[in-house]
Structures are given as C-alpha cells and as structure tokens.
Amino acid sequence: MISLKNAIKIYANNHKALNNISFTLQQGEIIGLLGVNGSGKTTCSGILAGLHCITSGEVLYQGNNIKKHVAEYRKNVGYCPQHSTLNDNITVYDNLLQNGLFHGMNILEAKKATKKIIALLNMQEYADKLPSTLSGGWIQRVMIARALVPDPKFIILDEPTVGLDPHIRHTIWEVIKMLKQQKKTILLTTHYLDEADLLCDQIIIIDHGKVVSNTTKDALKKAHKNKTLEEIFIKLIGQDKKNGEKL
C-alpha cells in the first residue's frame, strides 16, 4: 500500500536522519516503528505524512510516487504528531469539524463525521471545551479524533502515549485497537515496547536512520528464541538495558 524506498533524509544542518531506509506498510495492519530517541522515527512519520520531503528515494502510495501529487496524497493520511497542533482558539468540536472541511467534506458530511467520531471516542463532555483547557491524555485523544474525521485510509500516530499516565495509555490503546477493527493501516512510532508488543502486527526497528529489523512480531520473537520484545530490541540496538530507562 505505502512504501518507502531507499529513503535518505539530510536536514539543512547536514544531519543525516534517514540512511537508505526501505519498508512497505500493508493495508489493515498496525506497524510499529521502534527506535531510541533520535533514531529517525519522527522523520519517517513526517515524510509518510507528506509533511517533510526526502533528500533522495521515493515514497510510493499504491505504486505511485507521491512527490508530484503530495497534496492529493495527504487526503488519505491522518497524522497525529507528538505535540499538539490543535487550534487553541476554537473548541474541540470545531477543530474536528474544520479537519473534515479542510479534507473536502461539505458542511453536513463534516458535522456528521465529527459527531460520529466524538461519540466513538466518548468525547461528548469535552466537545465544547478549548484544547488549552485539556490534559495531555485528552489532547492526544482529540488529535487522534481530528485525524479520523475525514476517514483516512492511513493513520500515523507519532508516539501517541509518550508521557501519559498508565490508565490513559490504556485508553489510547483501546482507540488504536478499535481502528484496527476498522481495517485502517496504522503506523505507530513508539519507544514503549509493551505498547508495540500489544498492538502491532509488524515491527520495524530503526537505529541511526537505518532499518535493523523488519518482520512480523511473531517471526521476530521466533527468530530470537521467544525472547521478549524488549530483550530483542536491546540486542538489536546494542544498548545496555540500564541505559534504556524508557524501554
């Protein structure tokens, strides 16, 4: 469905964030993109969201390079970055509604989709609030909700549970599971390995901008004699377990 082929990303400050990365995301799967801080996860998700360009290589959507049709491609993508990009001057409801309108829905369709998503994610109580009054967990939920309004085929969740309380993480996980039931393709970047273990079908581990492993979760565990994902991750990344506080 979506492929990243030989992607190299060098930023203006000469930092090489991606070093010849290739992988494919299959429809209806949750793909976990794992790596330590600075490994290139966010760069990857930004590129797949159509936000950032790559220095060389290709992003293919249904076999076509998105470069010439990036604006059109973005219609198919729901992107939730790490930090809030909500409009703090309008209500949660309006943030969701606007995203529908921005993606070509007419006002009736956008209202219907907004109400549906609000009900689906149990957000009725917060619909009329301003995003600046919400907690971190609710902001993440609103961000996911906003991305879902135009009914995208491909959803990118960039560390959606980072810094959240355990019970809120579980709530977000339930939302992600629900999206999987709807056959959405989801790219989940995370450095919480329990999260990846629970939710993902395919695991891509990247380090220093390179793919060090790309296989299904089950195949990965089998290849490493049923060790935990955390043990496999540390082995592959070559880091001391004690250093990986967040893992």
Partner: protein, 257 residues
C-alpha cells in the same frame, strides 16, 4: 481538490481569531497613536516647531501596520519553533505556497482593520488639522491595502530568517526599527533629499518610505512626495518577490514538501 474551498475555510478560522483579538489591538493602537499625534500636533508647536499633525497621521497609519507585523512575527516564529498549528496546516491537502498565500491575505485584512481604525483616531485627535474632504479616499484605501499586503509579504521573509522567538527582538531593533525611523516617519523623502541625497537614496531601501509617501500623496496631493504609482508598484512587486524568497527559504529550512 478545490483549493479555494480549503482557503476559504482557513480564512474563516483566521477571521474568527482576528475577531477575538481585535479589541485589545485596537485599544493598543488607540493609545499609541493618540500619544504620538497629541505630541506632534499640540506639544511640539508650543516649542516653536511646525505643526505637522496631519503629516504625522500618515506615518501613524503605516506605523501601526509595522507594529502589527512585529506582533505577527512573534506569533509565527513561536508557532514554528514549537511546531504548533501551522504544522497541522502543512499536512492538509493543499500546497504549502497556498497556505502562505492565505496567511498573507489574513494578515493583510488584520492590518487593514487596524490601519483604517487609525484614520478615525487621527481625526478625533487632530480635529480641524485633518480635513477629511482633502483626502483622496480611493488613493488612501489603495495605499493602505497595498501597504498591508507588502508588510504581510515582508513578514514571511522575516520569519524565514528568524529561527527563535528570542531573536525576534533583535530583528526588530536591528532591521525593522532603522527601516521605520529612516523610512520617513517624521519627514518626507524630498526633505531628506534636500538635506543629503545619499541618505535619501539609502532611505529608498526602506519599505516604510514608499508606504508613508503613498499615504501622504492621498492626504496632501502629489506635489512634494515620491510618485504615488511608483510607490504602489514598488510595494506590489517587492512584496511578491519577498514573499517568494520567504516561501523558498522556509520550505528549505523546515524541509517541507
């Protein structure tokens, strides 16, 4: 995808933002503009200086646009620095260039409201010193509209240079303030030319020169000022050029598609 539709939705949101913040901005403009005009029209003449209240009013109409540009610069740099709402707009199904175009339209409208309000403030403060019947209103409106458009474009260029909010102040003091003060805030370009022609040629670098001269033509007639249509043409062409440079630089810096 109908880009005009998306832009109109973005405009609607921006107009709501303008509506919610305009009251405070008008109060700020009222206080600053009134103080400036009271001093120039009523205090300075008591020292034997020439009363140039109406002349100064033209500067005030443009200066308020410049100050608003500074406010918007701060907000925009903060938005980019903290990767806020603007980054969401960059993920919408619309080319980035059109997002900037929409922002330029939005900033133009915002500045035009403030600048138009300053006509009222000027009249209230200056009373008979500013006869409204002498003003060429179509020329004034066009001069303000084009000035607002120019400064919105100039804003985009400044954003492309300023990476952190802590640098905004430096940009203002080192670049904007000299351009403003030497851009005919208190004198016409011809006056400067009669004193020092090199300084006058230097003042042509400042966009404030063209903006204030165009407004003064609409107030006092063409005689004694830079040609009106030259000023308008300069601001339109330079505005488009600066916005393009700003867009290209930002696209590269932020690695946008």
């Amino acid at each position: 995808m109908n880009y005009i539709k998306i832009i109109s939705h973005m405009m609607r949101i921006d107009l709501l933002n303008i509506k919610s913040s305009i009251k405070d901005k008008l109060i700020d403009a009222l206080i600053w503009g009134s103080c400036t005009l009271i001093i120039t029209a009523y205090v300075l003449p008591s020292f034997g200086l020439v009363n140039f209240g109406a002349f100064q009013a033209a500067s005030v109409l443009i200066s308020v646009i410049g100050f608003e540009t500074y406010n918007q610069l701060f907000m925009l740099v903060m938005n980019i620095e903290q990767k806020k709402y603007l980054f969401y707009l960059f993920t919408l199904p619309i080319p980035v260039a059109l997002i900037w175009l929409q922002k330029i339209i939005s900033y133009t409208i915002n500045a035009l409201i403030l600048s138009s309000f300053m006509i009222l403030v000027s009249k209230l403060v200056l009373q008979d010193q500013m006869p409204l019947t002498q003003i060429n209103w179509p020329l004034l409106f066009l001069a303000l509209l084009v000035s607002c458009f120019f400064f919105a474009c100039f804003l985009l260029l400044m954003v492309s240079f300023v990476k952190k909010t802590s640098q905004v102040e430096h940009m203002f003091m080192r670049v904007v303030f000299p351009l403003w003060f030497f851009g005919g805030f208190q004198f016409s370009w011809n006056t400067l030319f009669s004193i020092n022609k090199y300084a006058a040629y230097g003042a042509l670098i400042s966009p404030y020169t063209y903006a204030t001269e165009a407004v003064r033509v609409s107030f006092f007639g063409q005689k004694g000022f830079l040609p009106y249509w030259t000023c308008i043409s300069f601001m339109l062409i330079a505005g488009c050029l600066l916005a393009t440079i700003g867009h290209v630089k930002l696209k590269k810096r932020l690695a946008l598609t």
